[in-house]
Amino acid sequence: MINIGSEKEAVAISEKVVYYKEILELRKRLSQRVSFVYDNIFDGIKLDRLAVNYTGFEITARAQNIYDFTKLISNYLRDDYVSEIVLKRANLDTTTKEYDFTIGGVFK
């Protein structure tokens, strides 16, 4: 004899789980992209501001020299993870001899 109540409950749970599976498939994970952006910032770069969303990121930071700045951009373009890097602002602070810049990146 089949327990109709249990079967209905099982079907209801199954439908909920199917719904959650659909949500999981649609869900976008940001942690990997945050790690990519944050971990590529090395000691020669002083981070002031960082913003990451699913499509891209923006960094405002300071570099001690032009080499560190170039290395940072090279790091982002190296792993085939970013399609483009845009230099939004760059300024040389003559008192501290630091390059103050803002760059934006677009994820592939």
Partner: protein
């Protein structure tokens, strides 16, 4: 004695050699035979056949019912197996309930483990089956650990964007998070 028997035998032979009489005898005998072995014999036979047919009919119906039951049980078994395989999803992603205040508790614990304090936690409204939450954090924690902790919570949520500002004493973060509910299910 023998003479009497012989005489009776002769009379009987004479009687059946008479075509008219023997014809009648055969007819009555045939009718009697049909009546006894045919009518009275066919009745119990027919009765048995009818009983057997009814039993056969019942068995066919029982077989149909059993086949249907087997099909139902197979279907139920399939559904139960489906549920069994889905339990890991239930354990991994479904919270005990979907109250936003409980999510806030989970959220504070996750951010605390990553080294940040929650300054504000503001639900900005519900859109369909999701709730958008704006969060402000401060501290000197690990942003990688924070995002991993939040995405690993026992609930389906999505970090839409994260902004980190480095300050002299501590960092400040702003997050926009979408957490899903079951209300549209």
């Amino acid at each position: 004695m023998n003479g009497g028997i012989k005489k009776a035998n002769n009379n009987f032979i004479r009687l059946i050699t008479n075509a008219d009489i023997s014809y009648k005898i055969y007819i009555y005998w045939a009718l009697l035979a049909v009546l006894l072995t045919g009518v009275f014999g066919i009745y119990p036979f027919t009765r048995e056949v009818v009983k057997k047919y009814q039993i056969s009919k019942q068995m066919v119906q029982l077989n149909k019912d059993l086949s249907k039951k087997i099909s139902d049980i197979s279907d139920a078994t399939r559904k139960i197996k489906l549920i069994d395989s889905d339990i890991r999803y239930l354990d991994a992603y479904l919270p005990y309930d979907f109250n936003i205040q409980n999510y806030m508790v989970d959220f504070v614990i996750a951010t605390g483990e990553a080294g940040y304090n929650v300054n504000s936690f503001t639900p900005e409204g519900q859109e369909g089956s999701s709730v958008r939450i704006s969060v402000s954090l401060s501290g000197e924690g690990d942003i990688n650990q924070l995002t991993k902790n939040l995405e690993g919570l026992n609930r389906v949520s999505e970090i839409e964007n994260i902004a980190l500002s480095k300050k002299a004493t501590e960092d400040s973060l702003r997050l926009s998070i979408v957490t899903f509910t079951m209300e549209k299910q």
